[in-house]
């Protein structure tokens, strides 16, 4: 430890080089954090730690087929259900079909919906306001922030699956874990398009207990096994994971990118350390003549490498944390918007980033450290340059 000031001095002896190396660790580490956050977001349990006993009931063959609303009564009779709500994907167009104007729009039954989705909290507007307005809608705070929506504002959605134009009024802004959807009263669509009545996309069911969550999917599906149409019931988590699985092997791609990036940082840091050690051959030989042990030299070079990587790493993590809100807002306006809505700072991602920095520091310093320690004094002193 007493050599720390010395190691420190060495580290910043060549200021330009140290700063450039810090920069070239900082930026890749930022990318690693972004990739890690995306990975984590994709593999996250949507009901994580909330004890939300939610199930999704849909048509067995396809999410795009409808199930009869009449199933509700029969499902309810199975017991153990707190509440259930119609939950219909509306799709459609807001302004245009560009990626930045894509967000989830669902038709629901407001009163029942608020009991099923009970972690949602109104931060503007009230539940009764929404419930009493057939053409009312509520939007997530992330969405409201992105578009600058206010309560009372009108939004037009042009239907594609349903040939109807919805003129909605925002009656509330809610906040929740991933508040990036718009919900409106499904009655609006049913009244305008009588042929739609009684045929719905999915039911969201809130069960009373963990045991009911366990029991209900099998019982619901058994109930309609020979009915037309049959149903598929799964937990909200499995339902969400189904979408992730639909994206294909994204996890493999993100992990692959991260691995390659770790190598890039490693190469750059190793290069810096190799250059530093080479320039100091004579100096190290002098230190050795003064009585410094091989192990001390080894420790000093390794320590310098570790310190360099840690500086870059911590700077990278700090950069990521500080720019995160802005970065997320920016990402919401890119083709990545669909993925960006759910991202947040995960401590585990930051920990992994720190781990990468330590790993890089140790590995990058090993070869130069051993070579410097092993070189014979006479060899080192003889060297010119």
């Amino acid at each position: 430890m007493k050599y720390l000031p010395f190691v420190f001095k060495n580290l910043f002896r060549k200021k330009t080089r140290s700063l450039l190396t810090l920069g070239s660790i900082l930026l890749p580490l930022f990318v690693i954090c972004v990739m890690g956050t995306l990975l984590k977001t994709l593999s996250r349990d949507p009901s994580e730690g909330r004890g939300m006993y939610r199930l999704v009931v849909r048509h067995k063959v396809s999410l795009t087929n409808f199930i009869p609303e009449a199933y509700r009564e029969r499902i309810f009779q199975l017991g153990g259900i707190q509440e259930m709500s119609i939950w219909c994907w509306f799709g459609g167009k807001y302004v245009d079909y560009s990626a930045k104007n894509q967000f989830a729009r669902f038709g629901v039954e407001p009163e029942k919906f608020l009991k099923v989705f009970d972690e949602a909290r109104f931060i503007e507007g009230t539940a009764p306001d929404w419930i009493s307005d057939r053409a009312g809608a509520i939007v997530g705070d992330a969405l409201a922030k992105k578009y600058g929506w206010k309560v009372g504002q009108k939004i037009t959605l042009t239907g594609d699956i349903y040939p109807i134009t919805l003129d909605l009024t925002i009656r509330g802004i809610y906040t929740a874990e991933n508040a990036s959807a718009l919900f409106f009263n499904w009655t609006y669509v049913e009244e305008a398009l009588p042929r739609v009545k009684g045929r719905i996309g999915t039911f969201y069911v809130k069960a009373k207990s963990a045991a009911d969550v366990e029991r209900l999917p099998k019982q619901i599906d058994a109930l309609f096994e020979n009915a037309d149409p049959p149903t598929k019931t799964e937990t909200e988590k499995d339902f969400q994971n189904g979408f992730v699985s639909m994206l294909g092997n994204v996890k493999f791609m993100l992990t692959g990118i991260c691995t390659a990036i770790v190598f890039v940082i490693l190469l750059i840091a190793a290069n810096t350390m190799a250059m530093a050690a080479r320039e100091r051959v004579t100096e190290i030989a002098v230190l050795r003549t003064l009585g410094y042990q091989k192990s001390t030299i080894l420790g000093m070079i390794l320590g310098e490498s570790l310190l360099l990587a840690l500086f870059g790493g911590v700077a990278g993590l700090a950069f990521f944390v500080l720019t995160f809100p802005g970065f997320k807002a920016w990402l919401m306006n890119t083709p990545m918007a669909g993925f960006a809505a759910g991202i947040k700072l995960f401590p585990s991602v930051l920990a992994a980033g720190f781990g990468v920095a330590v790993f890089v520091g140790l590995v990058a310093g090993v070869v130069p450290a051993i070579r410097s320690a092993r070189r014979s004094i006479t060899d080192g002193l003889r060297q010119v340059g």
Partner: protein, 392 residues
């Protein structure tokens, strides 16, 4: 003005083997990652840009973005087919196919599930898509719940191999053939006859009508005819354009490629800068000597920028080689993702095109240029007398 021989720089690169090697490898990896991600995006884009014909018109309900959202009722079909512009087939009937599109949630072989498009086609459906070939088995017989499956879907999903049965509750379809559509949209689909499918799914009508028109003028006429009939509430999209509009599916991947590529390139550029600064520092006396011999500042500047460009070019070439190897060896199979416009699986392969490889090279040269500029200007402004006096 006298230039410093290029050989001087190239030899110097090889003198500093370790540093050159590490820097080249770093740039190479960045280029390789960029290329792999872009090859993924390119492969996906190509499915859409290669699909559909200029002469086919896809009739959809107004405002529908995809066939899945569209609906065409039975009684509308004869009205559509009698509009002027539809080309007749050899038998005198219009060359058109009323089709039904449904997505099925199938289990993937690798685990998880995804939605796959099952398309019911009319008797002319095959003629409208000439690129299709049967690679195994036979075409389906109408009315017998038989399907033909694309090679891509067959390799990625359970129960989709030749002779197997896809079943859901009351529905059962036997796979009687495997087809290949040369990397176009049908390569992500399962086909059967439309009437059987309407019965199976208890649908009241079709999703869309695909019609061949006899050339540009006839096509415009047909489209105008559709738009002109307000009762139909339908619109005709050129099939080619319909698929072009779906290329945005690849946008997130391409965005990711550029994001990772650019940020990493700046990082690697810093690395190259380090290497070049060290190269300049180690050769201060040499540079001063060159200047004393009469080489101008500009010559020295150009010389070092050139050295940096060479360094980066080696990295770029290595990156292209690594990317090419990765795509050929590790990523050679078909992969799939979901096209959210049609809410179903699209099967595609990585595509590393010459244009992409060139982008990789240009990318590395840009890194080399910026990485070399500042160290080179330091070299150019070396004070001759001081530097020559310097020992070591």
């Amino acid at each position: 003005m006298l230039g410093i021989p290029l050989k001087y720089n190239i030899r110097n690169l090889f003198v500093r083997k370790v540093t050159t090697g590490l820097t080249v490898l770093g740039i190479g990896l960045v280029v390789a990652v960029f290329l792999c991600v872009m090859a993924l995006g390119e492969g996906l884009t190509r499915v859409f840009t290669a699909s559909g014909s200029e002469n086919n018109v896809l009739v959809l309900r107004q405002n529908s973005q995809s066939e899945l959202q569209s609906g065409v009722s039975r009684d509308q079909v004869p009205l559509i087919l009698t509009l002027p512009g539809v080309a007749p087939d050899a038998d005198g009937k219009p060359l058109a196919s009323a089709e039904l599109v449904v997505v099925l949630n199938l289990e993937k072989r690798e685990g998880g599930s995804s939605n796959v498009t099952i398309r019911g086609i009319g008797e002319k459906g095959m003629k409208l898509r000439p690129g299709l070939t049967l690679v195994q088995g036979r075409w389906f017989t109408p009315g017998k719940s038989e399907v033909v499956v694309s090679r891509g879907i067959s390799s990625r999903f359970k129960d989709c191999s030749m002779g197997e049965t896809i079943h859901f509750g009351a529905y059962r379809w036997t796979v009687v053939g495997i087809f290949d559509a040369g990397g176009t949209a049908p390569d992500s689909e399962i086909w059967t006859d439309v009437e059987g499918m309407i019965t199976d799914f208890k649908r009241g009508g079709y999703s869309s009508v695909l019609a061949r028109t006899g050339g540009r003028a006839a096509r415009d006429q047909f489209q105008a005819g559709l738009a002109g009939d307000a009762r139909l509430a339908l619109e005709g999209k050129v099939e080619r354009k319909y698929y072009d509009d779906q290329t945005s599916t690849a946008a997130p991947i391409k965005f990711l490629g550029f994001f990772v590529g650019i940020v990493m390139a700046i990082g690697a550029c810093f690395g190259a800068m380090n290497t070049m600064y060290a190269a300049v520092a180690a050769r201060t006396r040499e540079i001063a000597t060159l200047r004393a011999l009469g080489f101008s500042r500009l010559s020295v500047l150009i010389s070092f920028v050139f050295e940096s460009l060479c360094l980066a070019l080696l990295g770029g070439l290595l990156g292209c080689a690594l990317g090419w190897l990765a795509v050929k060896l590790a990523l050679s199979g078909v992969t799939g993702t979901t096209n959210f416009a049609t809410f179903s699986e699209v099967v595609f392969a990585f595509r590393l095109t010459p244009a992409l490889l060139m982008t990789g090279i240009v990318f590395s040269l840009v890194m080399g240029f910026f990485g070399g500029l500042f160290p080179a200007s330091r070299a150019a402004f070396t004070k001759i007398t001081n530097a020559l006096r310097q020992v070591g």
